[in-house]
């Protein structure tokens, strides 16, 4: 009786482990942290991608619209998969897409844009990754939505997919 009970307990335990791992396998690699208190975008100064001029954050986000900040790099493979979706998203006029080129070689980044197209209205350079830390980013790719009050209202860690694009469209509508 005791043996049967322990066998039953082991089976239950193993099934539980299997269910957890199986669920994990199907889980999306996009991590969306809950933003409980919406924070204002930090004040910063960033180098323009196409020229060596510096831009102030106030100037970058001056319009009274939604902004989508996408952190990308030419060496980042998931960035390539999300790029066509960003191209589609860039056609939406209710938000401006700002690119933040993360720890990248400028020549490679320019080749990337020439090859896959430029979805961004403006690209900033973050050569040492410190600007991304100011934004609270984990790495590449990462996407932030900034509302009209200049607050970060949502962020997506990892490549965006069709479902996320629909979610973004709903938010910026």
């Amino acid at each position: 009786m005791k043996n049967k009970l322990s066998l039953f307990a082991i089976i239950i335990f193993l099934s539980f482990c299997f269910a957890i791992f199986y669920k994990g396998l199907n889980h999306t690699n996009t991590y969306t942290p809950k933003i409980t208190d919406k924070k204002y975008i930090p004040i910063f100064e960033a180098k323009n991608f196409n020229s060596s001029t510096y831009l102030k954050s106030k100037k970058i986000f001056e319009e009274d619209i939604y902004y989508i900040v996408n952190i990308w790099a030419s060496w980042c493979v998931p960035c390539r998969t999300e790029h066509p979706l960003l191209m589609k998203l860039s056609k939406n006029e209710s938000a401006k897409l700002i690119g933040l080129n993360y720890r990248d070689n400028l020549d490679n980044a320019k080749k990337f844009i020439n090859e896959f197209g430029n979805p961004y209205s403006q690209i900033l350079t973050d050569s040492d990754g410190t600007l991304s830390v100011e934004l609270g980013a984990y790495g590449v790719p990462e996407t932030f939505i900034i509302d009209k009050n200049k607050k970060i209202i949502k962020r997506f860690i990892g490549p965006i997919n069709r479902k996320i694009v629909e979610e973004i469209k709903l938010i910026i509508k």
Binding site: P33, D128, V133
Partner: protein, 123 residues
Amino acid sequence: MKILKIFIILFLSIGFSQLKSNEKNDELKNKILKNIRCLICQGQSVYDSESDFASSIKLIVDKKINDEMSEDQIYKFLRDKYGDWVIYEPELNKNTYVLWLLPLLLFVVGGAIIRKNLIFKNS
């Protein structure tokens, strides 16, 4: 000759004080980096990690120390960006009081049980 001696002494003392302050800053930097969790690594501190995330955090911490921010101010800055999880030693607040007080509570309860058993055995 006298002027030269004074000049050398001054030069060396400035050099040593600079070296000492750099050493102090490095010590503080390492202490802080060892207490920051690398959020994209598995079980590594920022100090131990060579990832892009860790490298960026190292640069930021270095910059903040040079801007004369205190250790607590740097922790606060990182906590604001990434939440309590980024610091290995969480501060006592409404979300972490169970974490801090539970071991103490277990210690007290355990101690009380042992004491009770000892008294019971002796009697």
